[in-house]
Amino acid sequence: MDASERVGEVFRESYGKVLSHLLARGFDLLRSEDAVSAAFASALTDWNDATPPNPEAWLCRVALHRVIDIERRERRITPLESLAEAADPTETEDPTMFPDERLRLFFLCTHPAIAPEIQTPLMLQLVLGMSAESMSELFLMPAATLGQRLVRAKRKIRDAQILPELPNPEEFQQRLPSVLQAIYGLYSRDWGTTEPTEAMDLARSLVIASEGDPEAMGLFALLLFCESRRAVVRDVYVPLSQQDPSDWDPEMIKSAEQLLQAAAAHKSPGRFQLEAAIQSAHVQRAFTGLPSYVQIARLYEALIAVAPTTSNRLGHVAATLEANGPEAAHALLTKTQLTEPYLPYEAVCAHVALRLNDLAAARNHAEAARALSKDTKTAAYWAEMIQTIQNP
């Protein structure tokens, strides 16, 4: 791996950590962004021979020096900032010890003084370093427009002095759902490619920062359930129903179950608790040999009531297929409207058609699923499925 590949990898994982490190020390948002970009640029040349032992600490140190330089050039250093200068981190200091700083960055982006429609793109940019170009498709907005709105939001944060602080308890509750959603998005992004340790750290800190909010515990439980099975699908795609429960990590499952129970004691169910409860029902197979699909289908009904997404509706169809048979599942599928091609939809249709013995339809949906597969593991799974349908 050359320096640019190594820097690219660290960028994905560490951009938000380095930025929040500067913001937590009272530096201005726009200057901090410039300094972090400059630190990554230095890494491209300085890491040619070897990556430093702690790349994040290296980046924090270089970015901090850079932002102080920028401040000096543009105006006087204020007392708060010279304090930050004194607290210069050393090579050995580990910035990953302070996930709270990154949480504050998430909460900053959810401030009610920032337009709601720009909050998610802003989180992705400040925490993950995503550019307006790369997000333009995701938010169905021209890159130039999105870029201008991001700049406007960042200027407002600077000019109106919106500070990266955790809000008071009442505000915290209002802004928590967006932060939970962002952490879940971060986990999903990393799931298939790298170790999603960043999302796990953030979810854990959020449980602590929220003093055990049931939905924060629900999210952390959900991520632990997903993590407990990640090793199984690292190299080859295996559908959940075909995985061997003995391959799942029992420690993570135990922690997840405990969290879910603690969350349930609040008697305030929500989207993430329900998603975690569905995972828990699947995991029951590890103990009883059979998951309770009737229970899973009911949990999906409750989940759809609070989060009526296509993905949740398809989960409901898949559970109904096992609980009530293919006719019931097919009836639900006919009510599912799609606006664009979607792999999980084709996958569920293929399985339902197969159970209805409609081999032609099963093959069509499996072909569509293969065409929509974004990675070779998933494509390989569907290619094999097509083979099986042709030569049963």
């Binding site: 401030h111 003084a113 000019d159 109106a160 002095q161 919106i162 500070l163 602080e165």
Partner: protein, 119 residues
């Protein structure tokens, strides 16, 4: 950090000034200003209350040609009623004070950062 708290009132709120409840109306405003002052956040002498919008005159010039209009700049549901300047560490604190203004319910308060001292 200094912020302007810019108060907007509806015509119903403005008309309270001349009604039977005028005492309550003025009492609420002076209690609010006292509260800001007692907390040490009010920048004294930097704000003012304004007379009713009907007392305003608006001037505009286009290519040297002056037009004069009887009334405020825009005929909107909420009209400018006054402003104060406060000095607090963050937008969140400025918003906390803004929420307490007598005109927030029914009318509106705009929180706007004051331009920094050019020196």
């Amino acid at each position: 950090m200094k912020y302007g708290l810019i108060f907007y009132e509806t015509s119903a709120q403005f008309s309270e000034r001349e009604s039977e409840s005028a005492g309550q109306y003025w009492g609420a405003w002076s209690a609010y200003i006292d509260q800001l002052d007692d907390a040490g956040v009010l920048v004294r002498g930097a704000g003012a209350g304004l007379q009713v919008p009907g007392s305003a005159t608006t001037l505009r010039a286009t290519a040297g040609e002056l037009t004069i209009q009887d009334g405020p700049v825009a005929d909107t549901k909420e009209q400018l009623a006054g402003l104060v300047v406060i000095n607090v560490p963050s937008l969140d604190e400025a918003m906390t004070w803004a929420k307490l203004a007598p005109c927030t319910e029914g009318g509106a308060v705009e929180v706007r950062p004051i331009l920094p001292d050019p020196s």
